[in-house]
Every structure is written in structure tokens, then in C-alpha cells.
Symmetry: D2
Subunit: 135 residues, 4 copies
């Protein structure tokens, strides 16, 4: 489980002062980026080794809305791990309020976007963090 905190800026909200739905995907990217850094596999280092992890599926369920200047916590975990893809699950909280449940599925590809095997060291590291989605 990885956690990252950030604050909703004016750039993130729309009319009616709630965060625009697509901006939550921006936030998930930021949380994911920090999660991989914490794992010891910064995405930029993977990219320099020729490996990218493009999102091939995503899903979000909104249970509440973040507002301008809200500070939120994004909790990220690995819930599926295959040879060619993996699934991350996210929850966004404002205090104890759960605002969003989401998932992103990632392929493993080279810089020309062809599928490649996940680097074994990364797979092993992710496996140590793998949890069941129902936990």
C-alpha cells in the first residue's frame, strides 16, 4: 500500500467547484509515479531502460466530490500481477470520506509500444506488494 497526498488546485475544478472527472486520472498518475519511486523502480528509470507501463484500461467510481483546496490522500495497491500486465487499485480519501474507487490496468511495453516481458526484478518487487482486491 502506497499513499500520496495532494491538494486540489483551481486547475483541477470545474463549474460548481468540484474536481473535473478526468482530473482524478491525472491524480492517479501522480500517485502511481510516487508509488513506483517508493518501490525502487521510478518510472523515469524504467523508461530510460526502454520500458513503459501504458494504461490499457481504467475505471472510476465516484462516491463524493473533491473541492478546491481540499487535501486528499490517494492509496494505491497492486491487486493483480501477470506476465504481460498488472492491475492497480486506488482509493482517494478526504479525511475519512472515501471519494473515489478506481483501477488502472497496465501493459508492459518498449518505447515503440510493443509488448515486452516485465523486468524480473520489477515483477518480484511488485509481487511482494500484491494484495487481494477484496482485502
Amino acid at each position: 500500500m502506497f499513499t500520496h497526498r495532494l491538494r486540489a488546485a483551481y486547475r483541477d475544478v470545474t463549474a460548481g467547484n468540484h474536481v473535473y472527472y478526468a482530473r482524478y486520472l491525472d491524480w492517479l498518475e501522480i500517485a502511481r509515479n510516487e508509488a513506483f519511486r517508493e518501490l525502487g523502480f521510478p518510472l523515469i528509470a524504467l523508461q530510460e531502460q526502454g520500458v513503459i507501463l501504458p494504461v490499457i484500461e481504467s475505471a472510476m467510481k465516484h462516491l463524493g466530490f473533491a473541492r478546491y483546496d481540499d487535501e486528499v490522500e490517494i492509496r494505491t495497491r497492486v491487486v493483480e500481477l501477470g506476465g504481460a500486465s498488472f492491475l492497480l487499485e486506488y482509493r482517494i480519501f478526504r479525511g475519512s470520506d472515501l471519494l473515489l474507487e478506481a483501477t488502472t490496468r497496465h501493459a508492459v511495453a518498449n518505447l515503440t509500444e510493443k509488448p515486452v516481458r516485465m523486468p524480473p526484478a520489477l515483477k518480484e518487487r511488485l509481487a511482494r506488494h500484491l494484495v487481494s482486491a477484496s482485502e
Copy 2:
């Protein structure tokens, strides 16, 4: 079935020259906005009557990537219609290439984000466009 065409701008792409995943949700909003205008229920007119249609769930599956300056076609249809929510389905094509399949589920709410009944005229109009998701 509603169609809307737009072009990927530099603002939409990220490193590696593919459209950033969250920007597709921006595009779906634009397509949806035009679909409701075509239906005779522009979202801004609904809003002036105190009704908004917030996204409560979304899902996307990427089958290809749009690039800078690509022109794409977004096809939108109504696939579920209930008293309190409805589901839209989208496909994004570049020429004959299907790049994205997506859905958004919408609640019907007032300006303070409380659930309200869908205006009957809107419901009737959406019902005429309702298709089975498997079609």
C-alpha cells in the same frame, strides 16, 4: 447514435506522442455535450433549469493510441436508462481503427448535487435513442 469529430492538440498528448489517458475523458465530455445539444437538451439549458448530470462512474479500454494532430470520431449512444441514472457508451475511431471503448454513468442531480428525477421530456427523448449495448 451521435458522432463528433475533433483533433488531438499538443495540449492532449504526452511524452512519446500519444494522447494522455485522462484527455480521452475530456474528449468524451465534449462529445456528450454535443450529443445532448443535438438531442434538443443542451447541458447548459438543463443547468439553467437546475439539473446537472454528474458522472458517477466511468470506464475506458484502450485499443490504440491517438497521436498529435490525429482527427478522431467519437460515437456516443445511450445504452441504459433508469429513473435515477443512465449509461452512455462511446467509441473513438481514427479512420477505421477503433482506439477506445468507454462508458460513463450519470446521475441526475440539482445544483446542490442532490439526486432528482430526470425531467420527463429528457427521459422520453433519451428513450427514443436507447440501444442495447450489444448491438
Copy 3:
């Protein structure tokens, strides 16, 4: 003088229902992209020839605010043309209301962002459209 019309989406507005200030720069990019296409030098074709036109300076003056679903017209013209850079001037109108005056200064660079000479055919074409900023 080139003109491009577009509509403010929810993605463009912030709390208080006015277009977020940075989004106008997004709009200027879209207008500029279409202006160069109309000139016969689509930016993507220049890029395929190894030439990019990065923004090195920009300035904006807001005289009014665009709102959700407003349709605006962006008028673009070339007001300075040098060997190594050029200056574009923009005005954004909603009907007859002038909302924004802006400029962007562009360098001419190769794909590794080193300065290069402007392709003579492009320079000649821009020169035909050059107008004085005071006109």
C-alpha cells in the same frame, strides 16, 4: 488574419464558471495549429521535416471571461517576422465582446531544440501575412 471558432467545455472552466487562465493558452495553440494548416504549413508536416516552433514568450491580457459553453472566435495574425523568431498576436471574441488580447513569440528549432533557420518557403509565406501590430 486567421480565425478559428471553438466552444468552452467543462474541462476549460474552473470554480465560478469562468475559463481557467491557462486554458486560453491551450486555445491559442489550437488556433495557431489551424492557422499554420491554412497557410499550407501544418505544424505536423514541419515537425516531420525536423522543424518545431516552440513558444519562448507569451503574454495575455484579459478583458472579459469566457464561460461554459460559450462559443468564441480566435483571430490570429503575424506581427513580427525575424530570421530566428516570429511573433503572433491573438484576439478572442465572444460575439462582439473582446475577451482576450495575447501574443506568443516562437523560436525556430530542430527536434533536439537547437535553433535553426526558418525554412525559406515558410518565411516567405508568413511574410505575405505580416501585418503591423498597430493595424
Copy 4:
């Protein structure tokens, strides 16, 4: 002088892996928001008192480009302070490299965007931080 650090996300960069020009304005907003919080006048608290500080002019000069995952420092200061508006100046650094010089001019308005006098306590606080632009 206020400083804020942030990291360039994929959402911020465009093709060619440099931060898209409009995103720097997003960053300036974030830095400004934190500067006012540090001053003791969080923008959200001002807004709750009916005062907003809309940007009426902005200017940017790019001396270098931030890349994906770069950490940058944004330095903000007050360089002009009038009864009806004030001017902020920003510099963005990556390490010791100056990437951007920018300014934003702000009006003082109520929630319906009419000009109002700056709250005296805010003006006094800003005055203590006022520096000459040439320093």
C-alpha cells in the same frame, strides 16, 4: 519571497517531453496558492469572505524546458501593490537552471467579479513582502 517545489508529471508534458507551455501557468497558480496560505491569507478563506483575485494579465519568458519527472522550485514575490491590483513575479528553477520568468497581475473582485477594495489586512501583509522587481 515564497518558494514551492513540485514535480513535472506526464500530465504536464507534451510530445518531445517538455512541459506544455500552458502548464507553467497551472504551476504558478499552485505556487501562488501556497504563497497566500503562508502569508496567512489562504485564497479559499478570502473567497469565503467574498474576495477573489482573478488574473487580468500574465506574461512568461521561457529560458529552458522542464521535462517529465523534473523537480522544480517556484519562487514567488510581490513586485507591485496598488489599491485595485497587484503584480506577482515568479521564477522557476531546476537546480540552478532558471527555466522561466513570469508575472501575473491580479485584480481584487467580489464573487460576481466586480472590483472591490483590497482587504486592508491583506494589503498590509502584502506590503511587508513587497520588493522591487529589479532586486
